[in-house]
């Protein structure tokens, strides 16, 4: 595929509607398609490329923007419409596979509720305005002439990477600001902090496929992890290795990963660290060498005997023994910490205790290896966190901000009500949202600039989790913009930069030109066999990714001090609230995609709404049945949703999934279900300042209403039908171990 943009764009033009209209099979009634001569229009290309054949789909490489993982994709384009997403086989991240969110990216692009025109707040209400007016507004408030104090300007974004990130930092520099808030609800910031302190690298690589036993404390790596598709694949390798890997999942609420665990252990939230130490104690008593550890830690470990731990965590002693035994026998092992371990005031301590197991078992260097940095640090992903959300709320509270630019994040939705962010944001004089959709944040902004969808825009990206082979993946338009009055995000930032006369950005008439020159400027080491810059650009667009080399990277295991607090019951609010994230809805950004709304939750199989997961015992205590509406109240608010009863939660836990409960965000999301994030207590992790998602205590009460809970499964058990048959692992090892059947 050549890089001739003009003609490629020409190809991406939507052709006549022949074959596009809804053709109804066996249509006995008039539909949008008629067979009568001269009723339909058919339009030829003006001057097509050689490869362009009507009726034959062509695949273009691009990058998925549904989550920070940054999977490389291929989009099937026919008659100028992008029809289907598939993974890009060349990508080291997703090797030709895609998750449901990636598949549903199309519906974000074709979404009926996309913003079509700039919106400006006039007298309290957002009204459609022309781009000229919008840009003049922007210029008055933020432009060079505006006399804006850089210190009082901020970008609030989701995870950013690639040249987008470069442009943002350039813009911040040009404005003279350092305020870049990067916010993701689903993050591994605490684990990063711990890794930084214990291993000397924030994000080492976890070799799942090398491990023979994985002990995961709530790390939902195939679900809402850093890179779901990548870890799903390594998971498959891990499961098919010889001997087959064992997965032990310890968490208060069964995640997608927990659903596939060999041994799923329910634990009282916040006691993960204690259990880790208990296991450590057991290992040491089994003769695992702990001499490397400092005295203090050894005494700490020694203090955690099985009974005590069992009493605190609710995990029976022999199960602890079983876990320890597996860890010891099946080496190499890997111990992971996830959201449910991180999300507490003492999250850092728990995770440290958990990572201590890796040190103890000598996994560092075996299954946990240095990741190093790519040769382009400025392009690497700025991983989001919740610390910035709190910081932002704080800044807004202090009236420290005059102008805020929002992009790729929806803090008004994700922030707990206790932060009162909605009001605080109102107090900011000028807020600009660069957004595709009318989400909560956009609707509370003063100026909303409709940007191109991920399938219409240019860009480059680096996934937050980079496997051994690091890569930059390119995002190119798969279709001409659906709406003329939408602009590319890159183009807009570039315009602002040019307005600011920022050095190095003058020459480019648009973002595309900038990217092209940027790629031309890349060192030859990444250009490979390309003969010219033009050729390299063409090849890049064709392959979709550029492989880059890794620099540096080393791990040095050193223990950190751990002091876990006493576990306290709260008689007033007996239950722990678990705002569980799910693959699909993610943090709620996909609630406007009908496919994902109708795709059942993997565990509870509920569709289109929110539900409350309750243990049968608890349900009996509360006197609720499935479908009953139950009121979950913290001291900061309450949500009402229907009960789903199953034993995949700890009896002390009430789990409410994230994702629903939008007040804006289009017809599919608006006013559907509830948002558990709203009722969270604004507790932060003592060490890292991360928002403690799992630290909220709640009461639960039956409100008396009951409706049918809309879900897939009629009867949840097989009734001995042998729908899903099961064999023991040793049988599997015996029959298929080491054999590559196909």
């Amino acid at each position: 595929m050549s890089g001739n943009n003009v003609n490629r764009r020409d190809f991406l033009k939507i052709l006549g509607w022949g074959g596009v209209g809804v053709a109804v099979a066996g249509c006995d009634r008039p539909t949008t398609v008629t067979l009568e001569e001269g009723k339909e229009e058919v339009v030829a290309y003006l001057q097509p490329e050689e490869y362009v054949i009507p009726g034959v789909g062509v695949w273009f490489a691009s990058t998925c923007q549904q989550c920070p993982a940054g999977c490389a994709v291929h989009g099937r384009v026919r008659e100028g419409r992008v029809l289907k997403m598939e993974g890009n086989p060349d990508s080291p991240i997703n090797y030709g596979k895609l998750c449901q969110m990636g598949q549903a990216g199309l519906q974000g692009h074709y979404n009926p509720d996309r913003l079509k025109k700039p919106l400006l707040r006039k007298g309290g209400t957002l009204t459609e305005v022309s781009w000229e007016e919008a840009m003049t507004q922007l210029d008055q408030k933020v432009g060079p002439a505006s006399g804006l104090n850089g210190e009082r300007f901020a970008w609030f974004t989701g995870t950013v990477s690639g040249h987008q990130s470069v442009l943002l930092s350039a813009h911040l520099a040009a404005v003279g600001s350092k305020n870049h808030f990067v916010h993701e609800v689903i993050n591994d910031a605490v684990a990063r902090a711990v890794n930084q302190d214990m291993l000397g690298e924030a994000a080492p690589r976890y070799l799942l496929d090398q491990a023979r036993v994985v002990l995961s404390f709530g790390a939902d790596f195939v679900g809402t992890g850093a890179s779901p598709v990548y870890f799903a694949n390594t998971y498959a390798k891990f499961r098919t290795a010889t001997p087959r890997g064992v997965l032990i999942q310890v968490e208060p609420k069964m995640t997608l990963t927990g659903g596939s665990a060999d041994l799923w252990v329910a634990i009282r939230p916040g006691t993960e660290g204690v259990l880790a130490l208990g296991i450590a104690k057991h290992l040491v008593s089994q003769g695992v060498d702990a001499s490397g550890l400092p005295e203090s830690l050894r005494t700490l470990i020694a203090g955690h005997d099985a009974d005590k731990v069992s009493k605190i965590t609710g995990v029976p002693p022999d199960r602890i023994a079983r876990i320890a035994a597996l860890l010891k026998d099946r080496s190499p092992s890997l111990v992971l910490a996830g959201a449910s371990a991180e999300g507490h005031a003492h999250g850092y301590q728990s995770v440290a205790a958990i990572m201590l197991l890796n040190v103890l078992l000598g996994n560092v260097g075996k299954t946990i290896v240095p990741s190093g940095a790519s040769q382009f640090p400025q392009m690497e992903a700025k991983a989001g966190n919740t610390r910035d959300l709190l910081a932002f709320a704080d800044a807004a509270d202090k009236k420290a901000l005059d102008v805020v630019f929002f992009h790729g994040a929806n803090p008004v939705y994700t922030a707990p009500a206790a932060l009162g962010l909605a009001e605080k944001i109102k107090s900011i004089p000028f807020k600009v949202a660069f957004s595709c959709f009318p989400d909560e944040t956009a609707m509370s902004a003063d100026l909303v600039l409709p940007i191109l969808s991920a399938h219409e825009d240019w860009g480059t990206h680096m996934g937050v989790y980079q496997p051994e082979q690091k890569s930059i993946s390119i995002q190119q338009p798969l279709m001409e913009p659906l709406y003329p009055d939408t602009k590319g995000f890159g183009d807009l930032v570039l315009t602002m930069l040019k307005a600011r006369k920022a050095a190095g950005f003058e020459g480019f008439e648009d973002y595309y030109a900038y990217l092209k020159s940027a790629f031309a400027a890349l060192p030859d080491s990444v250009k490979g066999d390309a003969v010219s810059d033009e050729d390299f650009w063409g090849k890049t667009l064709q392959k979709g990714i550029v492989k880059v080399t890794t620099v540096g990277g080393s791990l040095s295991a050193k223990a950190v001090e751990i002091n876990l607090p006493e576990f306290k019951e709260d008689s007033a609010r007996p239950y722990h609230l678990v705002p569980s994230a799910r693959l699909g809805m993610w943090d709620g950004r996909h609630a406007n995609l009908p496919w994902l709304q109708e795709a059942p939750d993997q565990i509870s199989k509920v569709v289109w709404t929110s539900w409350v997961e309750v243990h049968p015992q608890t349900a009996a205590k509360l006197g609720v049945k499935e479908g009953d509406f139950i009121k979950v109240a913290s001291e900061h608010g309450a949500v009402e949703a229907q009960v789903y009863i199953y034993k995949g939660v700890h009896p002390d836990v009430i789990a409410v999934p994230m994702g629903q409960g939008h007040e804006e965000y289009g017809r599919y999301a608006k006013g559907r279900g509830v948002n558990p994030l709203k009722v969270l207590a604004p507790v932060a992790d003592a060490k890292t300042g991360e928002l403690a998602l799992y630290a909220t205590r709640v009461t639960a009460a039956h409100v008396g209403r009951r409706e049918l809970l809309v879900k897939l499964m009629g009867n949840e058990t097989q009734l001995g039908r042998k729908m899903v048959a099961t064999v023991k692992a040793d049988v599997f090892n015996r029959t298929e171990g080491g054999k590559d059947v196909a």
Binding site: G19, V20, V24, A25, R29, M85, G87, K97, L98, Q100, Q103, L106, V222, V229, A232, N233, Y235, A236, Q249, L256, G259, A261, W264, A266, R319, R322, G584, P594, L596, E598, A599, P600, Q602, K625, E626, G627, Y646, K647, G648, P651, L708, L709, L712, E716, T717, Q718, L719, G720, K722, V724, A725, T726, V727, K728, A729, V731, F732, T735, E736, K739
Partner: protein, 333 residues
């Protein structure tokens, strides 16, 4: 002609069943689902929506179980049908005391009346108690995680849906697939009643009228039609992709290569739990897997030399002779 086609294919099937071979077929599309790899992530299901113009029916219609997901992932709460490593409480001790240790499920037992006993005729009609299930609360199912089961049309060779269609709208193709010809269907719905897997979905409404508001309808795949109300539909193994691949192969006067294409679900499956291919080609991944697991088509009961191999077909005892082989879930217990 269709009648011809049905009759010839029927006789072919019979011959195949007796002689244990489908040599008269052009192709023999089959699938393997490895439940050891499947994590139940739903990617396949959504990919199917995208590829096959499946309508999104919305909450109220979903509540009436009038949805259209050709590829669905069933999730069961059972203790696995193997002896557990230890009978130990998971959540905490008193949970354990009130429930019995998981018993090994060896043979098929009829369900107990208790499951129906309560709440089955409450307003809304759905058996709430039953949905939770007496079985689910028996034993410690969750200790072993969930059991995920991707269910797409099994493309049976003794398909129970085929003989009952009054107008031969569903029939067996020379590719060994259960075809469903939408514009021939008159909607008697007998096929769906007679499908033991309940994998046929009926257009109870003109879903297309509100499933794709502008401009969502631009995503519709022009390679296959959108179905009107009153028409039965089901998974076709992405026949439109098969058609393209076969056409290309024919233009180059060759056979379709293994892995040259795959159905939408197989192509997107993040763990590679799904494998698709031509079972007539002895070198294809699928036929290798079937051979390895000693599962043969045209058999009601498999007699494997190695009883420990994982291959099985769902409800095989009904002699539907599916083209989809499942590999048993593996558990360390």
């Amino acid at each position: 002609m269709s009648l011809n086609n049905i009759l010839t294919n029927w006789s072919r099937y019979r011959k195949g069943a007796e002689e244990g071979g489908f040599h008269e077929y052009e192709h023999q599309w089959g699938m393997v689902v490895d439940l050891n790899k499947c994590i139940g992530c739903n990617a396949c299901s959504v990919a199917c929506y995208a590829e096959n113009n499946l309508p999104v029916v919305g909450e109220t219609r979903y509540a009436k179980s009038q949805f259209m997901s050709w590829m669905r992932i069933e999730r069961y709460w059972d203790e696995p049908d193997i002896e557990p490593y230890q009978a130990t409480p998971s959540a905490n001790v008193d949970v354990w005391i009130e429930t019995n240790p998981p018993a090994a499920k060896t043979d098929v037992k009829p369900s107990m009346p208790g499951s129906y006993a309560k709440g089955l005729l409450e307003p809304g009609g759905q058996g709430f108690e039953e949905r939770v299930g007496v079985y689910a609360t028996k034993g410690e199912a969750q200790d072993f995680g969930a059991s995920f089961l991707p269910m797409m049309c099994q493309q049976c060779h003794a398909a129970t849906c085929e003989p009952v269609c009054p107008v031969a709208a569903t029939y067996h193709t020379p590719d060994g697939l259960n075809a469903q010809v939408y514009n021939r269907c008159i909607g008697s719905r007998y096929c769906s009643n007679n499908c033991p897997y309940r994998l046929r979905y009926f257009n109870f409404w003109s879903y297309y009228e509100d499933a794709w508001p502008e401009p969502l309808h631009m995503q519709l795949n022009p390679d296959l039609a959108v179905r009107d109300k009153g028409v039965m539909e089901k998974c076709t193994f992405c026949v439109q992709r098969i058609r393209v691949a076969k056409d290309e192969a024919k233009m180059e006067n060759r056979k379709v290569r293994d892995g040259e294409f795959a159905t939408a679900c197989v192509q997107t499956c993040p763990t590679g739990a799904l494998v698709f291919g031509d079972m007539q080609d002895p070198e294809s991944k699928v036929s290798k897997l079937w051979r390895f697991h000693q599962v043969e088509q045209g058999k009601t009961k498999q007699n494997k030399q190695n009883k420990e191999l994982r291959g099985y077909r769902i409800l095989e005892g009904l002699n539907t002779d599916p083209s989809v082989m499942y590999l048993e879930r593996v558990r360390e217990v």
